[in-house]
Symmetry: C2
């Protein structure tokens, strides 16, 4: 079981790279080469990040992406929200029938407490705080695909 899926992780790597370019516009092609993420998948991810107000995109020749807000204001919880939906650690099986126990259920109470902790911690992890040490894995070999 993974808390962080591939698209979230890729998004984070891409954002980190963009941050390091200090305002320069970065194209998807560049990111593909540097991060070695399959191009169509990365493109979809970048489009999401644009829609969600994390990156700004400019179209046309010379276009690309740059940060829409300070690195400090982009946290893991938000990224997970975008790519994995709301993080629900506990979900009672009697969902539709509206579980008769929700009010008293001890398990729910205890899992909820864990969930709250986890969410709080994830919200603390922001891109700026990750960047003092490098986590990008820059590569030599190019990557190729046809779409785009």
């Amino acid at each position: 079981m993974k808390l962080i899926t591939r698209n979230t992780d890729y998004a984070l790597r891409a954002i980190c790279f963009v941050v390091n370019q200090e305002g320069r516009v970065v194209t998807a092609g560049e990111l593909v080469k540097k991060l070695r993420i399959p191009r169509p998948f990365l493109r979809k991810i970048l489009q999401s990040l644009n829609r969600e107000g994390i990156l700004v995109s400019t179209k046309g020749s010379g276009g690309g992406f740059y940060l829409a807000k300070p690195a400090k204001e982009i946290d893991l919880l938000e990224l997970i929200g975008i790519f994995q939906g709301h993080l629900t650690l506990n979900e009672c099986l009697f969902k539709k029938l509206a579980c008769p126990n929700v009010k008293t259920c001890k398990l729910k109470k205890r899992i909820d407490k864990i969930e709250t902790m986890v969410l709080r911690e994830l919200a603390k992890i922001n891109v700026a705080s990750l960047l003092s040490e490098e986590r990008l894995n820059v590569k030599k070999k190019d990557h190729q695909d046809r779409s785009g």
Copy 2:
């Protein structure tokens, strides 16, 4: 994203029911009726619980299941381990290549910390502590299937 999958949850409900029977041998059929879990699925779950030393089974006519150890010694972490494998919140994408950053990666460090917290809390949640308040949802209507 769910921390607790169906089989883990069903297992927990089944165990709770068995605990409440105070040593009496309980059959899969009974559990199916009371908990309204699909019979073949529940049977598979009970077999796992037996293999893993949480329930003892007795075969043949009059057979069934009873607890293999005190309710206090059965915790959620163990159940999750059985049905969902080891809980890994963070798994670096460069797995096979052995990520060059594992030692320094800040993200990994921070997720690991969250993971440790979660595991510790899950280990604290044991069946006995859940049972002071009821979470079983006993039902009227029977359930039917052919296997067995």
